[in-house]
């Protein structure tokens, strides 16, 4: 089995299990129809609704790989959405609106990255500043109301379809692929992992960890900007109070479900976006199953708990060993060879 597939196998299996579980409560979960030039069905809703968290998870993966965390992405979404809605409703047109939103996201990342890399503030504290202040900034832009607009071009990013697929889904898939290529086809991935594992040794080996850290937070801001654009285009309005609210926590959860360590180092973007899809499949499944809404959070928490326990360092290797034993591979061989050197 290729290394890349083996890395995301637990997440793929988990996603499959969640889909099967939801299907048990809502049999039409996997049904997909083609209507009016687009695919429709619950599973299509999952990949569309999961777009903001998946995008945030792409950036969050990189930040967490450097042993950091970015709590500000939800607030950044609100700021970027507000910027885009302001530009559209002021009549600047599509391209300037996208440019303003993305610039705001990059600026938010630059702010966070500078606090972390230059001033040495702990990431959780540094990004907490923007997390709490960011919504205020967004409200200043929207003047405290839901800033609505009518612009079909911009709304396309929320509800349009490309080759029958929802535009938000296409955007997050593209973002995941592009960022994966960016870090794996260049040396960025290695360098990011290296500073995440041992920043001091990496600096002594000549890695410019300061610039790299800032870049990683800017990438997170960039992803948050796209998430904000999608969320704003989706409801054709910028809701500074609610856009991206608490999504930073879902994004962190997606990264964790993706098997990435919060202590930094080795990372997989593919596994993180699969984690985001797992979370969204649970969310959508709960809505479809029709339980009273009081149970939503309890069910979600219970499922996430089960997933994390199954993936936990003390349980997962045991299960993997058991699986290997069933396939007939002698367990002790590799271990023995390594011990004998």
């Amino acid at each position: 089995m290729p290394q890349a597939i083996r890395r995301v196998l637990p997440q793929l299996l988990t996603l499959l299990a969640v889909i099967l579980l939801v299907s048990a409560f809502f049999p039409g979960f996997l049904q997909v129809d083609y209507e009016r030039g687009r695919l429709v069905g619950p599973i299509i809703d999952v990949i569309k609704r999961g777009a903001p968290v998946a995008l945030l998870a792409v950036g969050m993966t990189l930040v967490i790989a450097t042993r950091g965390i970015d709590l500000s992405v939800g607030a950044t979404m609100a700021i970027c959405g507000a910027c885009a809605a302001w530009a559209i409703s002021s009549g600047y047109g599509l391209i300037p609106a996208l440019a303003v939103a993305l610039a705001a996201g990059l600026l938010a990342g630059l702010w966070n990255g500078t606090l972390v890399a230059v001033f040495g503030i702990q990431p959780i504290v540094a990004t907490l500043i923007l997390m709490t202040a960011g919504r205020g900034v967004a409200q200043l832009i929207t003047e405290g109301r839901i800033l609505t607009f009518t612009h079909d071009g911009f709304a396309f990013f929320g509800s349009g379809a490309i080759l029958g697929l929802p535009a938000p889904a296409v955007i997050w898939v593209l973002a995941a692929i592009l960022f994966t290529l960016l870090v794996r086809r260049t040396a960025l991935g290695l360098l990011i992992e290296s500073i995440g594992i041992n920043r001091r040794a990496s600096t002594l080996a000549g890695i410019n960890s300061r610039v790299l850290l800032i870049a990683v937070y800017m990438a997170s801001g960039f992803c948050a900007a796209w998430a904000g654009i999608i969320a704003t285009a989706d409801i054709r309005g910028a809701d500074a109070n609610n856009s991206g609210l608490w999504l930073e926590l879902d994004a962190i959860l997606a990264v964790v479900i993706g098997g990435n360590s919060l202590l930094g180092g080795r990372f997989s973007i593919a596994a993180s976006v699969l984690g985001a899809m797992i979370i969204q499949a649970i969310d959508t499944g709960i809505l479809l199953a029709g339980f009273p809404s009081e149970f939503n959070l309890v069910i979600k928490a219970a499922l996430v708990l089960v997933i994390l326990v199954l993936q936990s360092p003390s349980l997962a290797p045991r299960m993997a060993r058991a699986a290997r034993r069933r396939r007939g591979t002698p367990v002790g061989r590799t271990a023995a060879r390594e011990a004998g050197e």
Partner: protein, 315 residues
């Protein structure tokens, strides 16, 4: 010294004869468009009546509100409007106002203090709002079968509980109307849209849904978008009724996408000022709770005009 005292006494008697003069208003903050509209309307009402309004924004903190009330008392205002951020902890500051003989009117929310400590409370009845919405649906569908989906507010919040109760009260006894799905959309547009998408999936693409009841307009607006994207015609295929009467829902009604909304009026100050005026003039004690009207608006009420009237209130 004596001259000053005399002048003050004269001013007081003159003022009392003319109008209520200086009124302090301790507002919670500006967390929602509705509250911004309430602030705007209070200022407007004060201006119309020639009242000098002292405004204080508490930014969601009770200690700021208490400080503001104390400063109003120190300034010797004639009355205080208070939109309390929480229900408890007001006794001592309300007693201080009482000792200074300054009447206090509560806006929009209640407190857990003794009724003697404030003049009256102005607010809407959340259950009643739900009943108005439900009654409209009962009247509209007549004897036809109607499967209703409901977008609840934030789980456990009092508007969500009361508006649900009111709606259920109104449709009770009308067995042709049934709530088939009910989920929380957290009072947000995104939430309304996402949950409506799942309702449409679960209810055969929307063909089996007769009406949508949303606990606020924002969720209804999100749901309308979800229906449009799914090829369902909101306002015709699915009746849409919601609560709040924010400007955007009037636009939707003008477009034929929404059918009815129940107003939660941000004009709490109007009735408050009326009550204060009567009280100051001849000491008329108002009721302890003044319920604002929960007015129903439909597509026949010139929604475009209503939109124009509301859009600059700060929603």
């Amino acid at each position: 010294m004596i001259k000053t005292l005399l002048a003050t006494a004269a001013a007081v008697s003159l003022g009392a004869a003319a109008q209520a003069q200086t009124i302090g208003f301790s507002q919670i903050g500006s967390e929602s468009g509705w509250r911004a509209a309430e602030t705007t309307l209070t200022r407007q009402q004060a201006e119309e009546r020639g009242i000098d309004l002292r405004f204080s924004d508490a930014q969601q903190r009770q200690e700021n509100q208490i400080a503001a009330i104390r400063s109003f008392i120190a300034q010797g205002v004639d009355a205080i409007l208070l939109a309390p951020v929480v229900a408890t902890g007001w006794d001592s500051v309300l007693e201080e106002a009482q000792e200074a003989e300054i009447p206090v009117v509560l806006l929009d929310r209640q407190v857990d203090s003794s009724e003697d400590l404030y003049l009256t409370a102005v607010g809407s009845d959340l259950v009643h709002e739900g009943e108005v919405a439900g009654q409209w649906l009962v009247d509209t569908v007549g004897d036809d079968e109607c499967r209703v989906v409901e977008l609840q507010g934030t789980t456990g919040s009092s508007p969500a509980i009361d508006r649900k109760t009111g709606f259920e009260n109104a449709i009770e006894g009308h067995d042709n109307i049934e709530i088939v799905r009910s989920q929380t959309g957290d009072f947000t547009r995104t939430g309304g849209k996402e949950v409506m998408e799942s309702f449409l999936q679960a209810e055969g693409g929307g063909g089996e849904i007769c009406a949508l009841y949303a606990h606020n307009d924002d969720m209804a607006i999100g749901a309308i978008q979800a229906m449009k994207e799914a090829g369902v015609n909101p306002g015709e295929d699915v009746l849409v009724v919601s609560i709040d009467a924010v400007p955007d829902i009037f636009q939707a009604m003008a477009n034929g996408d929404a059918n009815a909304t129940v107003e939660l009026t941000p004009n709490m100050a109007g009735p408050a000022f009326d009550a204060l005026e009567a009280y100051m003039e001849d000491g008329t004690e108002p009721e302890k709770f003044i319920q604002t009207e929960s007015k129903l608006y439909t597509q026949d009420d010139d929604p475009m005009a209503e939109y124009e009237a509301r859009k600059d209130l700060g929603y």
